[in-house]
Symmetry: C2
Subunit: 201 residues, 2 copies
Amino acid sequence: MIYVISGPSGCGKSTLIKSLMARLPGLQFSVSHTTRPARPDELEGRDYYFITRERFEEMKAGGSFLEWAEVHGHLYGTSLDEVNEKSRQGDLILDIDVQGARQVKKKLSGVRFVFVVPPSYPELEKRLKQRKTDGPEAVAVRLKNARQEILESAIFDYLVVNGDLNQALEELKAIVLAHRCLFERRQKEFREILKSFKSWP
Amino acid sequence: MIYVISGPSGCGKSTLIKSLMARLPGLQFSVSHTTRPARPDELEGRDYYFITRERFEEMKAGGSFLEWAEVHGHLYGTSLDEVNEKSRQGDLILDIDVQGARQVKKKLSGVRFVFVVPPSYPELEKRLKQRKTDGPEAVAVRLKNARQEILESAIFDYLVVNGDLNQALEELKAIVLAHRCLFERRQKEFREILKSFKSWP
């Protein structure tokens, strides 16, 4: 099963995904390609594949991306190779923006779309200012983009309001766990149980 | 949202439902009518509405039941009044057998069906013998019925294997919680957030 998780910058999505992966075994994370420079705490191959704009355009022209988008002046893309390889190993999480989510929705079926939102505009503003990674102008751009993303979020299946982090984490976990309980995904387990019932008098 | 939870006698369904309701707020339990005598620990109106066979037949003839079934020689039924009243107060859990589940599936849409199974035949046999509420003959009947129920379980949406109680409980909880996160069920919350974004520059 593939999960697309989107949400405005500052909604706490990355923290949520990291906590989810630490708590729920059997999850894979799709590492995106980006032209954005690495932040001090980011690792090549773990957080992103950091590439030049030239290489990005080459891959794009070669049809290597499932989705790509330009966000805040940088290019981000999910390669098909990454999705194919990781989804064979377990449930796969894609952390992408709303533009990207729309492209995935058109190309793949059976994907679940989760939208993470901050509880309100003032709360998002507060969080973005507290992060101190952006100046006032960058914060203003992020807030404007946040509004646009929220306006375009109708394509999503699930809504997680990240007011309380633990509550939001529990909800995200529930979404993944509930899908693992679907009858059609437990056929193998079910057949084993059925067999044990049939082999007795 | 209405959840039908079924599973063979001895699968641990009642314990699971009780624990779920203790842990997850906002859940209602649909109390069935039955002609079975009350067990020492059961309370009228909490576990069942205990009625005579005559009264049951009257209600059945009057179209009062959403579903009814005869199980191990006793009649069980879910009244429409009970479902209408309780489902207005929150998510509603129906603890009914496979025959009843099939009737609900025909009559109501949007219901989620969860099937709880023991991990294997020998394990179910062990549990039924340990309960000591039934003699060897009753245990044999329950095992035979369990096999039949498992064979007919294809109508269910979710499968919860009750090997480890905590794991099964977490899965059941996840199924309910995930549905509460559905975008269409969070319209009111979403509109409030949207409003706060629209009212800022």
